[in-house]
Structures are given as structure tokens and as C-alpha cells.
Symmetry: C2
């Protein structure tokens, strides 16, 4: 295993669309949402132990989740848990990790990935990461993974690749024409028809040197801020300086801040069975289902005249469902949600309403 | 208050159609099902304290519910709680109470009533009971109350009265032509059209002497059995003899065993706002509703695009309901039921299924 290979797992999200399973105090990445015994972050960590040495895997998360990470990933040291004092989106998160890693290994080759996605064909995934890591070791590239889309999903960003500009050593690595945020359905349909758009999976590979250069050029103010921490990283003084940096650091995504602007971006078109598990509907799609197309977690759920539902119930609870079609039925920690699957975008509103009416305790 | 007036409250039912609120260990009559702070049996008891001396009110129930009765009706003595060792329907229950009361007061005038009905216009009810009690004091009648029907409900038994044979002193007390068990809808519609059918409310008035005579004539084997207990009633030996009697006593209702056969039956046609609260639907009908016609018990239930539902939730539970029309949504003690209101007759089946699959604990 290449000792220069590093992984940064981003685990700071709150997963509000998975409420009430995902909760402020236990977001989605810390839940065994597939019901198979491992939380999403545990699965993600295990996956990257195939790529990097375990001590080279860093987790960036909110300071609130330090204990959760320690509990769920007991094999990593405190040093490997990078705690953000507040949420500032992905660019500051990556900048922070870069400076920490730089003090350990300035020749690092880094893969950055979210903690809460699922990957079905891990062998394909490993192969792509390995090819990608080697490519960014040799080339000054910011390499992102683009998923071959199966439908005009409006929940993802899209990357348009340039078919004519293909990496000679691997016919699936292309130059990028455009990044697009979540499109309208009509636009998404056009993207799919055109054949040269990919879903933006939010998985990046680059050498530390390349990403440093990009920060320097495209987000110099963010870079300058984190540079102030040099000499403090990986020391007892780190926390204090980081608190100061985050107080003034702007909130900006790596896509918007760098990827959409840089000229050396490449995309690796891939197809390894991927889902960002962004919504109950996306979880429903990948779950195994019974003969009535119900995806059920819960040992004592009985359904009658009920179809196409996703059900997550505490394992000891007796649940009788009659006459429901295409619903989300979820209970967790004192909260029950029953909602039509097609209206799952309303869940954010419910979370807000509950917060306003009953307080933070339930969100 | 007439010291000869007695009341027998029948409280042995299990209320299976109200599952999962009504449970084997806490049936419907012991629940505050209207959400107003009093259980149904408490309301029933309080009502009859307007008719009889409190010490003349007896509660007949299963031995399993002795503690519940003592808890909920602390004002009554142990002597007033008549415990049946097993369920044998209403005729044995009444025979047992008769023999107990006989040893205290052979001149008793008795009203027998279920513990789990609701009555909205209590002033009208009191007036009717008072007239009825006076009538059965003077006449050798078995008087039952018939409710003027508002719709062709198939959940009730019907009583056809004889308009030509009316009690001269009260134009609402009639002779009875027929008793009918729960009819088909088409039949129920004909009943309503005919104008001479009433709902059988299961509330009876008679003198102890009249009902004794009726048992002697129409259910002599039941009467003979309970006669064996004479000398033991209201003594420490009662329990032993009663256990023996119930072991061999047949299961039969007072309607089938006596009322449908006796010639001295009279019916008091009444209209005091009555419901037997037999089903969730009947509870829905009488509950107050919000602007979307939802009848909700639960302090933290939020509804969106949800109409015509009956919802009973633990008071601290956060519940979000979206896109439900005409459903029953009930949670109680580890069981959640979601079921279309129009399919509530299936609840009995669910209870059976749960018992088979998960054991008695949940029924």
C-alpha cells in the first residue's frame, strides 16, 4: 500500500432529509441506515482501508460528533479526527485537512470522499480509485468522479465532460466542460439525452501540491486563513487557532470555489453502483423489497393492502399498516413520520416546523 | 334517593375493536378514550350515582380487572366488585349479580348497563331511567332502552316496537315485536324506513323479582346453578362456589336467553345522545374535529394535507402526518396501527395475527 496515499472522509453533514432517522445529535452518516449492522461512516472507513494505510485516513466532522466518531471508529487516533468548530461547507473543510496532512507528509496523494454514500460494486470502485490516485500522482490534476447517470435525477449536480479530450492512458478520464448545480427536470432530461453528462459524486483525488496550488489561485483568502495555523497543526495549540480561523472563514463549497473555475479539472467517468442516499426515496430504490415492493426495517411490522412503502421502525415495535401505497413510515427516538414518498421534499419543512413548535430536542 | 334502587355495571368486555388503545390488560372501559380525564367506567359510575346510592352500585367484571376497578373507582367497597372467573356473556353475569343483591335487598329495583358507552344528554338519560325505574317497580316488566336510530348502522342490534301497545302512563314505553341481531345494510335501511325499529342499547331495568322469574322460566339451568351459591354470596366462601358454577355455566346473552323470549318485555324509546363506542369510527363520529375534520388526541401531532382521520398518540410523541385521508392512526404501549377507517372491521383480524405471530403480550 502506497504510504503517500491519504483519505479525507467528510462527515460534517446533518442529513436533514432523512429525519427523523437522521437527527441533529446522530446524523445519517452515524446510522446503520441500511440495517445491516454497520453505520455509513463505518462502511466508508472500511472501504478506504483498501486504498490507504488506516493511519492515513482522516475524518473531518463537527466538534459535536467527536465522541460519535471515536465510538464508531475506535481504530483511529484522536489526531485523525479533524474537528470543525462550525459548518463552513466543503472548501474550508478540505483546506483544513490539507494543512494538517501537509505537516505529516507534503507528498501526500489524497482522495476526498463523503462519509454517507453507498457503493455497491466495491471492486470496481477500488480499481477506479487506484487508477485515479496513480493519475493524480503523475499529473497536476483535480480529478473528480462522475457517475454514469441512469435517470434524469434532479437531486444531483451534473458534470459535462469533453469527449474529445480524453486521458491517453485511460479512456474514462476526460477534461471537463461544465459543472451544473441540481437542474430542473427538463434540463436533466436533456443532459441524459446528450450522453456527455455525469452525476457529480463529490469524490475527489489530487496530490496535496495540486490542491494547494488551486486554493492559492482560486480561494486565496481561505488559503491565507489556514496558513496562519501553520506550526500549530497537530499540536495542542491547534484548537485555539482553528476556532479563530473558522470565525471569519467564509462558507463555500469546493465545487463552486475551485472545481468550476480551475482549468486542470478532470473527471473519471465511472459506474460502480453509487447512491448519495440523499433522500428516503433513494434509500427505497436500493433497499431489498418484499413481494409488495415494501422496503421494511423492523422485525414486527405487518402490512395489509400496503405497497411501495419504505418503513423504518424500532425493532421491537408492533406495527400494523393497512391501505398505504407509496408512503414513508419512519419512527425514531420519539418521532413518527408518515409522509407520501412523492412529497419527501417537504421533510425539511417538517423539521423546521417541529423545531419552531417543539424545540431543538426533536430535530 | 330510593334505597331500593340498584345499578349493575357490566365491565367484563375486552374492546378488541379498539385495539391497540384497548388492550387485554386494560380494556376500553378502563381507558380515558375521549381524552377528557375520566375513563369510561368512571363516567358510567358517576352517572349512576345520580340514580342510586353509591353503595348500591355493583360492577361485574373479570377477576383480572379487580385492581383496575379498585384503582379507578376507589369509592366502592370490595363487596361491590363482582368478579367473574371467566367470560360467560351477559346472562350469567346478571344472574350472579341478582343473587348477590338478593341477599342484601330482595326488593331491589335494578338498572343494568354497560360500562363503556357514552351518553351526551345526561339530563334526558336521568329522566328516562327515573321513569323506567318507577315503571318496573309497579309492573312486572323487563324494560330495555331502545335508541331512536339516526342511520342504518349495521353494528347494532335492533328492537321493533309495537306502536299500538303503548304504556298508558308514558307514551314512549312500548311492547316489543322483535329483537334482531346486527343486520345487513339493506335490512338496516328497511328498519330505518319503517320507523318502528330502535337500536338495542343493552341497558335494562327490572325488579329483582321480575328478572328472577324470567331466569326461572327461560334459563332455568343457569338459575339453578347460581341458586347453589345461596348462603355463600357475600361471604368468604363465595369465590370457591362461583369458580365451580362458572366452570359449567353456559355462555349466553341476556338478549338471546331471555329478552327475545319473554312476553313481558317493554322498550323505552329514547334519544339522549348515545354511542356504544363500538369502533374507532363511532369514536370519530362523536369527537370534536379540527378544520380538516381530523379528530386528534396527542399534544404534538402535526398534520399536512391530512383529512378525516382519527389519531390517538401518546401525548409527548412528535407525529407528522402527511397525505392521509380517512385513516385511523393509533399508538399505544409499543403498538402502532395505521388503517383505513372504512376497513376498521379488519382490526379483529390484526389482533389475532399479532397474537399468533408475537404472543399475547401485545393484544
Amino acid at each position: 500500500m502506497n504510504p503517500n496515499y491519504y483519505c479525507v472522509i467528510m462527515a460534517g453533514g446533518v442529513g436533514a432529509r432523512f429525519w427523523p432517522m437522521s437527527r441533529l445529535k446522530t446524523p445519517k452518516q452515524f446510522i446503520d441506515i441500511l440495517g445491516d449492522g454497520l453505520t455509513l461512516i463505518q462502511k466508508t472507513f472500511n472501504r478506504f482501508t483498501q486504498i490507504c494505510l488506516p493511519e492515513n485516513i482522516f475524518v473531518v466532522t463537527s466538534a459535536d460528533y467527536k465522541e460519535l466518531v471515536q465510538e464508531q471508529l475506535p481504530q483511529i487516533s484522536e489526531q485523525q479526527i479533524i474537528l470543525e468548530p462550525s459548518r463552513r461547507n466543503t472548501a474550508p473543510c478540505i483546506a483544513y485537512a490539507n494543512y494538517k496532512i501537509k505537516e505529516i507528509n507534503p507528498n501526500a496523494i489524497i482522495v476526498v470522499a463523503p462519509s454517507d454514500h453507498v457503493i455497491f460494486r466495491e471492486d470496481v470502485f477500488f480499481n477506479i480509485i487506484e487508477i485515479g490516485m496513480k493519475a493524480v500522482e503523475k499529473n497536476d490534476w483535480l480529478l473528480t468522479i462522475g457517475i454514469r447517470p441512469s435517470n434524469p435525477n434532479t437531486g444531483y449536480g451534473y458534470i459535462q465532460y469533453d469527449e474529445d479530450k480524453v486521458y491517453k492512458e485511460n479512456s474514462s478520464i476526460y477534461a471537463v466542460k461544465t459543472f451544473t448545480e441540481k437542474p430542473e427536470l427538463s434540463m436533466a432530461k436533456k443532459f441524459i439525452e446528450s450522453g456527455d453528462f455525469l452525476w457529480n459524486a463529490g469524490i475527489f483525488m489530487w496530490s496535496l501540491k495540486s490542491i494547494e496550488k488551486a486554493f492559492h489561485k482560486y480561494l486565496p483568502e481561505v488559503d491565507q486563513l489556514f496558513k496562519q495555523g501553520q506550526g500549530f497543526y497537530n499540536t495542542p495549540g491547534e484548537k485555539e487557532i482553528i476556532n479563530k480561523i473558522y470565525e471569519v472563514c467564509k462558507n463555500i463549497s469546493i465545487d463552486f470555489g475551485i472545481m468550476e473555475k480551475a482549468q486542470n479539472v478532470r473527471v473519471f467517468a465511472a459506474d460502480f453502483g453509487w447512491s448519495d442516499l440523499g433522500t428516503w426515496g433513494s434509500l427505497y430504490n436500493i433497499r431489498s423489497k418484499d413481494e409488495n415492493q415494501n422496503a421494511i426495517v423492523g422485525k414486527r411490522v405487518k402490512t395489509y393492502n400496503t405497497n411501495n412503502c419504505i418503513v423504518n421502525m424500532p425493532k421491537d415495535k408492533i406495527v400494523i399498516l393497512e391501505g398505504l401505497d407509496n408512503y414513508i413510515v419512519v419512527e425514531n427516538d420519539g418521532v413518527l413520520l408518515i409522509c407520501q414518498k412523492d412529497n419527501e421534499q417537504l421533510i425539511r419543512q417538517y423539521v423546521t416546523d417541529v423545531q419552531v413548535d417543539f424545540g431543538d430536542k426533536f430535530i
